[in-house]
């Protein structure tokens, strides 16, 4: 059963990411990103990353996606429910990106990865992540908090009408 669910989520992520990339309607793109983010959270659960799956939903769906939707609604003269978007150089882009994708897939399929030998699953990652975050990675954590504060102030300053 887990196998079936995994491939359903895999397909959900793939299809919704394609809608994001190829849809002519900007609004469909952004709401399709919702499915991508939730699907990626599901993929995390299959990778035993419970904490990250939930973090992904909180920050990506509850934060970033809302910001993107706001961005769309504030930067368009809204007349109809559909916002068409145009693209440049679709064919060239498709060829280049397709080539990159092929190279990536061929590389990773031909590579032998040094797989971990221990089969033990980690149970819950919250405790480990917390200890590392306030231990080995404390400086990185503090720097990230300063960065977030800077981003907050910067965004608030930039978004004001008069600079």
């Amino acid at each position: 059963m887990g196998e079936v669910i995994f491939w359903v989520i895999w397909a959900l992520v793939a299809v919704s990411a394609m809608v994001v990339a190829f849809s002519k309607n900007l609004v469909y793109s952004v709401f399709s990103l919702l499915a991508t983010f939730i699907g990626v959270a599901g993929i995390y659960i299959f990778l035993n990353a419970d904490f990250l799956a939930v973090t992904q939903i909180v920050i990506y769906v509850g934060g970033i996606l809302v910001l993107l939707v706001f961005g769309i609604m504030l930067t368009n003269r809204i007349v109809v429910a559909k916002i068409t978007q145009s693209s440049l150089q679709r064919t060239t882009g498709l060829v280049v990106v397709g080539a990159i994708f092929l190279v990536l897939v061929l590389t990773l399929l031909n590579q032998t990865w040094p797989l971990a030998t221990s089969a033990a699953e980690f149970d819950s990652t919250v405790n480990n992540i917390g200890e590392l975050l306030f231990g080995d990675y404390l400086i990185l954590f503090e720097v990230a908090s300063v960065l977030l504060l800077g981003a907050l102030i910067g965004a608030a300053t930039l978004a004001r009408k008069e600079l």
């Binding site: 196998e3 995994f6 992520v13 793939a14 990411a17 394609m18 994001v20 990339a21 900007l26 793109s29 990103l33 983010f37 990626v40 993929i43 990778l47 990353a49 990250l52 992904q56 920050i59 990506y60 934060g63 970033i64 910001l67 993107l68 706001f70 961005g71 504030l74 930067t75 978007q85 145009s86 693209s87 440049l88 280049v96 990106v97 397709g98 990159i100 994708f101 990536l104 897939v105 990773l108 399929l109 990865w113 797989l115 971990a116 221990s118 980690f122 990652t125 480990n128 992540i129 590392l132 975050l133 990185l140 990230a144 960065l147 977030l148 981003a151 965004a155 930039l158 978004a159 600079l163």
Partner: protein
Amino acid sequence: MHALSSYLILSALLFSLGLYTVITRKNAVAILMGIELILNAANVNFIAFSKFVTHHVEGHLMAVFIIMLAAAEAAVALAIILNLYNDHGNINVDEANALKR
């Protein structure tokens, strides 16, 4: 269970689609969406490797920091996009070739 490659192929697909979005879209918000796809692809890779290769949660920490950076980046980018809209009346990046009008 599923092999490592199934995750890596998904990640490669997300990365390619994100890259395609970034290089072909004109709308700045759409480009931002492409960047989010690319960051998600990186996260999937980090976590997949941390389960299958290193078997340690340090990969998860990288993903936590990436998510944090994505949040900061989205906020600042949207502020810039709003300014772009105020100055130019649209947010098509191919027309934004002057710092101010």
